[in-house]
Symmetry: C2
Subunit: 232 residues, 2 copies
């Protein structure tokens, strides 16, 4: 995920901060991002906020409309389905390569990442409805490690970018999911398949893992009403 790398420029700093706000759900899909408010909030000038939002727009986390400012990207059902399809397509390729190329080094890191994930509480003690920040991190780390050994930096970056785009939908899904899907089991299965070098099974599990999240969201109907709140 690479939150808070030591940013070398102010614009980069603010870019990462706003990005984190979006991914953590502090800024909601559809919400307008008014420049002046963001300036106050981060204590910087217009140019900085503009540059930050411009970058986020290029990453598709916010949408820019000329003369009308910026808003957090809100995915339609169709777009979420498409995103899921592309993620599965790309990660399948990466996962197959990783399973093919990864060595003992990779196996160890994967095992470690899974162990951390399995032992991180899903909900924060403070707000039991929400996903904890620590879990979100561990989850991202596990999925990243899974394909890490694929040997293609570019593919990995694509994967990370798409992961980010779907991050807040993933959080939503967690909050919605009443019948408590067995996430832990799915991760365990993924781990086992990868370590057993069973690419077909791993890929199938990954696809199901992603599709079920999307299904939960679509069936909940929460995506229909574009949760537009104003201001930042």
């Amino acid at each position: 995920m690479a939150y808070t790398q030591h940013a070398k420029t102010l614009a980069e700093e603010v870019h990462q901060r706003i990005r984190a706000d979006i991914l953590a759900g502090r800024l909601l899909p559809g919400q307008r991002l008014k420049l002046a408010l963001l300036c106050d909030e981060h204590g910087v000038s217009l140019s900085i906020v503009r540059e930050a939002l411009t970058r986020l727009a290029a990453e598709k986390l916010v949408r820019a409309q000329p003369q009308q400012g910026f808003a957090v990207t809100a995915l339609s059902v169709a777009e979420l389905r498409d995103l899921t399809f592309v993620r599965i397509a790309i990660e399948s390729v990466a996962l197959r390569r990783a399973i093919e190329l990864g060595g003992v080094e990779w196996e160890s890191r994967l095992l470690a990442a899974h162990h951390r994930l399995a032992h991180t509480p899903v909900h924060s003690p403070a707000d039991p409805k929400r996903l904890s920040e620590a879990y979100a991190q561990a989850h991202a780390q596990f999925h990243e490690t899974l394909t890490e050994a694929c040997g293609s930096p570019r593919l990995l970056e694509l994967q990370r970018s798409l992961y980010d785009t779907s991050e807040l939908y993933r959080r939503l899904s967690y909050m919605l999911n009443r019948r408590r899907r067995n996430k832990a089991g799915e991760h365990r299965g993924l781990l086992d398949a990868a370590l057993a070098r069973n690419a077909d099974r791993a890929v199938a599990m990954l696809a199901e893992h992603y599709e079920s999240t999307t299904r939960t969201l679509v069936e909940s109907g929460i995506l229909e009403r574009p949760a537009i709140g104003d201001a930042a």
Copy 2:
């Protein structure tokens, strides 16, 4: 490719202009892009050029180094190989879907795009060493049409972005390729395979099509010396 959509803001206008300069090879890989010079050239203020370059950096067409400005992205051999790998991976998925989903409508457009490509002169009369602008367009169009029917806007956009990144390497390859590879034949074969709904053959041809371009470049050794010229 979407050159010169009617841009609604100045920054977008300049962004597209610089982008076109890079893709057409008027700005070379490794070349530093000094803000002041670009301001003069396009008759705009610093902020505008900064925003344009920031976007190009997000698209990976230029590289930004904090406190040191921007430079046109120069791919190393390893990066070019990786790029090729990712392009093949992504377009393979898209092509298979297109072959599966595409209807008569798609076939017609593909046939038309191929016809146009086949009848556009490769070199411009003005500069017989360089690739003509018209051919570059037609080529882009053909490849875009090939996968158009895949049903995934996101996948197509990814494809286009990667196509752009490799655009100037493709042009280089054309200029270098002495033994005159049979490009026309490859395109013809791709067309036939697609129309015959032979996904495996089409994908294989596509992969070979891209890999041979990369091979030409790598073997030429032209990528080794990072063609750094200063100024814009």
